[in-house]
């Protein structure tokens, strides 16, 4: 295209500016890439972080394995293999080493049958140890997850009320938080767990809750009572700084009520902080559960959790050290990767916290 000389200060319109665009020119205007959102940006940053991605993969694999394997595995976590109806107890199944078989199984193998191996052997009661570890992982993960959700819900409610209402309400709530915060948490957890274990048993007998077990429920209650405080502090702080923003003032001026403002303005803006601290709460909860299980205050037998498996293994530790090492590795792996993933989440979604 020839360049025309521009004539300033005339009424002549440059007609070329009104010529329909060619295909080539149109191509410039095509949106090559969708404009990114905050969430998508965060995910991209997260996936760039190798440590966090690997941790996420580890967590997903462990979770999937703990969900799927019990369904397809030929043994169950509570079946004592040596105990068959109508026959005397076969002790050869107790304390099997990895990939060894009990007497009846050996007979069946000799007859040409294929028997699924006991990958990690069996425990002192003749239960397949591999599936117990898998099932224990499932329990530990579930306890960690639900305990964090409970902490999240209570902390969110109390924290946003305190932060939004301010004044006397805030003062009273924060003094309660201060006091709970200064209590030695582990001791109180042990005390409550040991007492609830005895109190809850008869209360929930015959209900759906009995299946979950009094110990896990008491664990949830303990978490609900004690661990919401730091979450509520965090959310209160967020709300306090957010509610001074202009858009909240505008919303109030337009006649919005408190609940609306909390739901539509304050919570969405503090969502990344909330998600991050919930994610970091999960390994904490798993930690606490395994600690209590180790002291004998965790899940009800025969249900295994990683902590109770380790606790049981302590009795035969000199002969069967692998029974301690296996759950130990799994629990360390879970806690470590959850922590690293949580750190990655924080770096990706809360740029303010990055330095």
């Amino acid at each position: 295209m020839e360049k025309k000389e521009k004539i300033p200060f005339t009424m002549h319109v440059d007609l070329e500016a009104f010529i329909p665009a060619t295909e080539e020119e149109k191509a410039y205007m095509v949106q090559m890439r969708k404009s990114s959102t905050f969430f998508r940006d965060g995910v991209k940053r997260l996936l760039k972080n190798k440590v966090a991605t690997v941790s996420l993969i580890v967590i997903v694999l462990i979770t999937l394995a703990s969900l799927i394997l019990p369904a397809v595995w030929p043994y169950s976590y509570e079946d004592m293999l040596g105990v068959q109806p109508g026959k005397p107890v076969d002790n050869s199944y107790n304390n099997l080493s990895p990939f060894k078989y009990g007497t009846t199984e050996q007979a069946r193998i000799a007859a040409g049958e294929k028997i699924f191996p006991h990958v990690f052997g069996t425990d002192a009661s003749g239960r397949d140890y591999f599936i117990r570890v898998v099932y224990g992982t499932r329990i530990s993960l579930a306890v960690g997850f639900f305990a964090s959700i409970i902490v999240l819900i209570i902390g969110l409610t109390v924290g946003s009320i305190a932060g939004y209402c301010g004044g006397t309400v805030d003062l009273v709530i924060m003094r309660i938080v201060d006091i709970i915060y200064s209590l030695p948490d582990m001791l109180m957890v042990i005390l409550l767990a040991s007492v609830m274990k005895m109190t809850l048993g008869p209360v929930i007998e015959g209900t759906v809750l009995e299946k979950i077990g009094s110990n896990i429920i008491s664990l949830f209650v303990v978490f609900g009572v004690l661990y919401w405080v730091s979450m509520s502090r965090l959310i209160r702080g967020q709300i306090l700084s957010l509610r001074e923003q202009e858009y909240v003032l505008a919303s109030t001026a337009a006649g919005a009520k408190g609940g609306w403002i909390i739901r539509k303005h304050l919570l969405p803006n503090s969502i990344s902080v909330i998600i991050i601290s919930t994610a970091l709460q999960i390994p904490n909860a798993i930690f606490t559960e395994s600690y209590l299980s180790f002291l004998g205050l965790g899940v009800n037998a025969p249900m295994p959790s990683l902590g109770s498996l380790a606790s049981d293994a302590l009795n035969g530790i000199s002969s069967y050290p692998y029974r301690m090492i296996i759950p130990a590795i799994v629990i360390s792996l879970i806690v470590l990767s959850l922590n690293l993933f949580g750190d990655g989440l924080r770096d990706a979604f809360d740029p303010k916290l990055r330095n």
Partner: protein
């Protein structure tokens, strides 16, 4: 110390007293909410004997009276009543016996953690991004995410069972070595990371640059300026560290069969020895609360700029 600091200290002490009172109250009422009372697990006993037992331990009185007596005995005589399962012994004596071993364990572990942690943290900070720094950071990350019972069991398997270097039983000669190492690893790793990050922070300050510009020697900068100031955040960790050591000693004493207060506490829970559970909870809680108080006040005195509100 100005009046503001003094006011803070008084406020902090009052909060600590309130906390201790709440711990006692919660412990008392929670333990008394258990159905059946402490003699339920015993073999069937006649109603007369039951009544006699309850009268002996003051369990026939109204709950509030029992509470008043309990609180008064603790405050005035440091008396937690008799143990139910260890007949003829007072709870405070059992606790005192256990404390002898546990305090030794805890203090040595704490000192070990502090000394090694500070040294490693300073080394990591001064050799930032060098190989030694990376090694220290990887190892401490691993230690921080390992529960104490797993650490203890692994050490037990490696050093006592496989290698046979140290005894597995805590009551044996040299048996406290492994429990002490187990207890100190987590706080050591934590202190290392804390010292490293606060030292890096201090090394970037203007006064360090000024000192360098004045020609102060490297060692003098590190020991005279940097280390002293970077230890301030470490002081705040002393309270939580004690809390960790106390709760950690419950499992560590179980793993290594150390005859300390942690093991007594765990077995009193399984035995339903209520006065013992209450007494131990309260003593340990007071210990933690006081330690938190001391480390907070020390922090405030060492660095009055800090606003702890």
């Amino acid at each position: 110390m100005n009046s503001k600091t003094a006011f803070y200290i008084i406020k902090r002490i009052l909060l600590a007293i309130l906390t201790v009172w709440i711990v006692i109250t919660v412990t008392f009422f929670v333990m008394h909410a258990v159905p059946g009372g402490p003699f339920m697990s015993e073999k069937a006993i006649s109603p007369a004997a039951q009544a006699a037992l309850e009268a002996k331990y003051g369990l026939d009185k109204p709950l509030m009276t029992q509470y008043g007596t309990y609180l008064r005995d603790i405050v005035t005589k440091f008396d937690f009543g008799p143990s139910l399962k260890q007949r003829g012994r007072m709870v405070i004596d059992v606790i005192g016996d256990g404390m002898k071993t546990s305090v030794k364990l805890g203090v040595v572990a704490a000192v070990l953690a502090a000394v090694i942690g500070i040294v490693l943290g300073a080394v990591a900070a001064l050799r930032r991004n060098k190989l030694i720094d990376k090694i220290i950071m990887v190892i401490t990350t691993a230690f921080v995410s390992m529960p104490s019972f797993i650490m203890g069991s692994l050490l037990l398997i490696i050093f006592a069972i496989k290698l046979g270097w140290l005894p597995a039983n805590g009551a044996a000669k040299g048996g406290l070595v492994l429990p002490i190492i187990t207890l100190s690893l987590y706080p050591m790793a934590y202190i290392t990371r804390l010292t490293r990050s606060s030292m890096l922070d201090v090394l970037g300050q203007d006064y360090i640059r000024t000192a360098k510009a004045k020609g102060v020697s490297g060692t003098k900068i590190i020991f005279g300026h940097a280390l002293k100031n970077s230890l301030i955040p470490v002081i705040t960790y002393f309270g939580p560290m004690l809390a960790y050591i106390v709760t950690g000693s419950l499992v560590v004493e179980r793993i290594f069969a150390v005859p300390g207060i942690g093991r007594a506490f765990v077995s009193s829970i399984t035995n339903r020895d209520y006065p013992m559970v209450m007494g131990t909870t309260i003593v340990l809680a007071v210990l933690i609360v006081v330690m938190n108080l001391v480390s907070d006040i020390m922090y405030k005195i060492v660095d009055p700029r800090i606003n702890l509100e």
